[in-house]
Symmetry: C2
Subunit: 212 residues, 2 copies
């Protein structure tokens, strides 16, 4: 499978298609065209066909794609045939929002432990999860063989958490701290940087006004 | 300026560079090379040079870039020379996390009002902001000439909020609901879809294990 080099933008769209297809399935829709997927998620039909073509032919010309097949397929590609356990470090407002974020559960992501090193937070519960001291994290990760970790601490504390994650065996990190993390080879990081998304909007609005 | 078509990926990186440069400035660093920026944010030096070249020449060969100039420049390009007011709809856990997200203030984003239509939330305060009924939103947006709005409501309620935003004059929407929004021309939407980011990680981890 290593030869199959799929651009990250394609993986991103597959994830979006997968979610849209599940919505269709819930509504009882059994077949879908690339045009309908395109309209539903806001990309071009050609883009949908190109993305799905990475993985071989499985639409029928003039009929479209079988919704359930396509769901099964996208879920498999994205590695979601099993549930993924995750640990979270940071029990502040963002951490609490993540624990209660419904979409994670729908997609098979299970936050199984929350850690913090703030004494005022340790021992409290967020949606039935007791906040544990950060020192306990490596033990939990190793014992339960957890591979995904989320960082929702202030920027200045984020690198230390990333180091601890890497040492403990975490292989994928979703980072909410607005800072770049250094991790050893074999560990993947993706950043959720909320200001960056806003700045794309302000860039576009500013350009637009200048051109009026 | 309309002819200047800059790829969104470049704008995204400019935003990341801008943040990194401010960190350098705080530390008293006055000059920086493309290689140092590259290392600091985790991209290649060639990429940094290419991104900055969109906007003309302003490094000095062998000396590098003046940090303060580059900050001023990226801030201007991103439209951040003034503060941006924003309104937020959704006073749940995610909404509360957004109101207290420090980075927004650092970058000049000011959440000036929070709305919800949940009677148990209206009237409560989040970090000194009183949650107001959603019906009041259009009035506030028009009166204060607010152009940016954030949506942190469940998926099924998100489209209705987007429609109200568009009618009220909001031009840029940051959407945290994991669903695709339809908006009229002239309104820009960017989605923050947390599961999508996780699924890039699970995709990569799954591919990796299959190739072992």
């Amino acid at each position: 499978m290593k030869a199959l080099k799929i651009p990250e933008a394609t993986v991103t769209r597959l994830s979006v298609y997968s979610r849209f297809l599940k919505q269709l399935d819930k509504k009882g829709v059994t077949t879908v065209s690339s045009g309908e997927i395109a309209e539903g998620v806001g990309v071009s039909p050609a883009q949908v066909r190109k993305d799905l073509a990475y993985f071989g032919e499985f639409g029928t010309r003039g009929v479209g794609y079988n919704v359930k097949d396509l769901i099964r397929y996208t879920v498999k590609i994205l590695g979601l045939t099993e549930e993924w356990d995750m640990v979270l470090v940071g029990a502040g407002n963002m951490g609490s929002a993540l624990v209660t974020y419904r979409e994670f559960k729908d997609r098979g992501f299970n936050i199984m432990a929350v850690f913090d090193n703030d004494l005022t937070k340790i021992g409290k519960t967020i949606a039935d999860l007791e906040v544990m001291p950060l020192d306990k994290m490596p033990e939990v990760v190793k014992e339960k063989n957890v591979r995904l970790g989320m960082i929702a601490v202030p920027s200045k504390a984020a690198q230390e958490v990333a180091d601890k994650f890497a040492e403990s065996g975490i292989q994928g990190i979703l980072n909410f701290a607005p800072t770049t993390l250094n991790v050893p080879e074999g560990v993947e990081v993706r950043n959720v940087d909320l200001s960056v998304k806003l700045e794309i909007l302000t860039f576009n609005l500013t350009i637009k006004n200048q051109s009026l």
